[in-house]
């Protein structure tokens, strides 16, 4: 029994290794890309000809846009690529836990840390894009310069919190499921799987919404300035 799919190593050459997390991630990337490609290759314009899959994708994209806009970002299309991918990746990774031998890459702290790092990098990038480097750096000195260390700690800790929250939830779900399979192999694991699905979706939503809030916080000052 292992805590993370990182421990399943298929191939290794020095520090370069091909573990279960990476392979599963590639698999997910393939599924998402090929699925998107298949659905969007023949997009219908007429309402009567729209397929169910196209409707599904349109609903997802529209919902994501709405959510991003509701948090306070005025141009949701600009952030849709990053935040939407974050949600779709985590949600898909978590949804596939219904397959017995599948281990979600989100159950690996390396993956969740990588995603949290992505947010950690994206927030200043979007902030700088919105208000410039100086303007963004000034936000760390607000309300006073004394707050600089606290702001930096806050940045780091929220990134760490993001990664650990997702990892903890997903890993614990997988662990509980594995333990229950050993103790009570019938019926009960199914209920736990359902619970795991719910937890997975909630975690995907939380991760994305938090990332959106962080980005919105970085871009908010600029928006306020623009408003003024």
């Amino acid at each position: 029994m292992h805590l993370s799919s990182d421990e399943v190593i298929f191939w290794q050459a020095g520090f370069i290794k091909l573990n279960g997390t990476i392979v599963t991630t590639w698999l997910l990337m393939l599924i998402l890309t090929i699925g998107a490609k298949l659905i969007t290759r023949n997009l219908a314009q007429n309402n009567a000809e729209i397929s169910r899959w196209q409707s599904l994708l349109e609903v997802i994209v529209t919902l994501l846009k709405q959510q991003i806009a509701e948090v306070g970002l005025k141009q949701p299309q600009k952030y849709l690529g990053f935040l939407g991918t974050l949600f779709l990746f985590i949600a898909t990774a978590n949804l596939l836990t219904i397959f017995p031998i599948y281990e979600p890459p989100t159950g690996s702290l390396s993956t969740t840390l990588a995603l949290a790092l992505a947010v950690f990098i994206a927030v200043p990038l979007f902030g700088i894009q919105e208000q410039g480097l100086t303007g963004f750096l000034k936000t760390y000195l607000e309300p006073t310069a004394i707050m600089l260390p606290f702001n930096l700690i806050s940045e780091l800790s929220r990134t760490f919190a993001l990664s650990v929250r997702l990892f903890g939830n997903m890993m614990s779900g997988s662990m509980i499921l594995a333990i229950l399979l050993i103790i009570t192999p019938f019926v009960f694991p199914i209920v736990m799987t359902l619970l795991g699905l719910l937890t997975g979706m909630v975690q995907a939503y939380i991760f994305t919404i938090l990332a959106t809030v962080y980005i919105a916080a970085a871009a908010e000052i600029c928006d306020l300035k623009t408003d003024n």
């Binding site: 520090f15 990476i22 991630t25 314009q45 990746f89």
Partner: protein, 270 residues
């Protein structure tokens, strides 16, 4: 160690690649499709609005035209009604005038017929009465009517009636003696002598026989006439016949018994 830094880097890279892939294959086409559809729907809505406005305008125009048409129709109907009324009045008037003319013509024709009938009837009666009288006098009294009439005529002349004397004395032209029967020469001579005696001089006398006098004798000068016929006696009979015929004519007159046509005409006029 839960964190494998190589895996972290690899996952970070994977995530960036996934962002690029999904942007390319998912968000871009879907957003474009949504935008295109929104534009299309917006265009369709705009077009629908335009069509609705156009339809509204056309509807208002149609309503206005309809109202105008109704007004025109009412006006035309009114005009036509008035024209029809006028035409009916004219036709009724014409018909009434024509009917009056016809009635008048008929009455005239009837009056003429009555006149002719009366004349014919009177003559016939006179002839019959004269014939019967003559026959009766001949058969029962063995008297000739004409002779007796001449005798009475002569008696009248001799009685020196002032009227007759005046006629005979004042005449300057030949006297005309018309009789319904032919006078014998003796009778002619006797009459001539009697007249000469009364007038005091010889007077030329022209004798003519006219059947229409019906057993009568008529002595006439210019503007004066002495008549001695059955016509005076038959006057009452003629008057009675005339009255009887007049009664029949009056019964047939439309004024007293209006026909259906005149009744309707009266109703229409009212």
């Amino acid at each position: 160690m839960l964190i494998d830094w190589f895996t972290v880097a690899a996952q970070l890279l994977n995530f960036v690649i996934l962002i690029a892939l999904l942007k390319r294959f998912l968000y871009q086409p879907i957003l474009q499709a949504l935008d295109a559809r929104e534009h299309r729907i917006s265009a369709e809505l705009s077009e629908a609005d335009a069509k609705k406005q156009q339809a509204q305008a056309e509807y208002e125009q149609f309503c206005q035209k309809n109202q105008e048409f109704d007004l025109q129709r009412a006006e035309l109907f009114k005009t036509a009604s008035e024209e029809a009324k006028t035409e009916r009045q004219r036709l009724l008037t014409e018909a009434r005038i024509e009917a009056d003319n016809l009635r008048s013509q008929r009455q005239q024709a009837l009056a003429q017929e009555v006149e002719v009938l009366m004349t014919s009837l009177t003559r016939q009666i006179q002839t019959e009465v004269f014939a019967i009288t003559r026959q009766v006098l001949t058969d029962l009294a063995d008297v000739n009517l004409e002779n007796q009439m001449i005798a009475v005529f002569m008696e009248k002349l001799r009685s020196s009636d002032p009227e007759i004397v005046s006629v005979l004395k004042n005449t300057a032209t030949p006297l005309l003696l018309r009789t319904a029967f032919t006078l014998s020469e003796a009778q002619q001579l006797e009459i001539q002598q009697t007249i000469a005696k009364i007038a005091g001089s010889e007077i030329e006398l022209q004798l003519t026989t006219e059947a229409k006098l019906i057993s009568g004798i008529e002595l006439s000068s210019v503007g004066q006439k002495i008549v001695w016929t059955l016509a005076d006696y038959l006057g009452n009979v003629e008057n009675n016949l005339k009255n009887l015929l007049q009664q029949h004519i009056d019964v047939d007159k439309p004024e007293k018994h209006p026909t259906e046509f005149s009744k309707r005409a009266a109703e229409d006029v009212s």
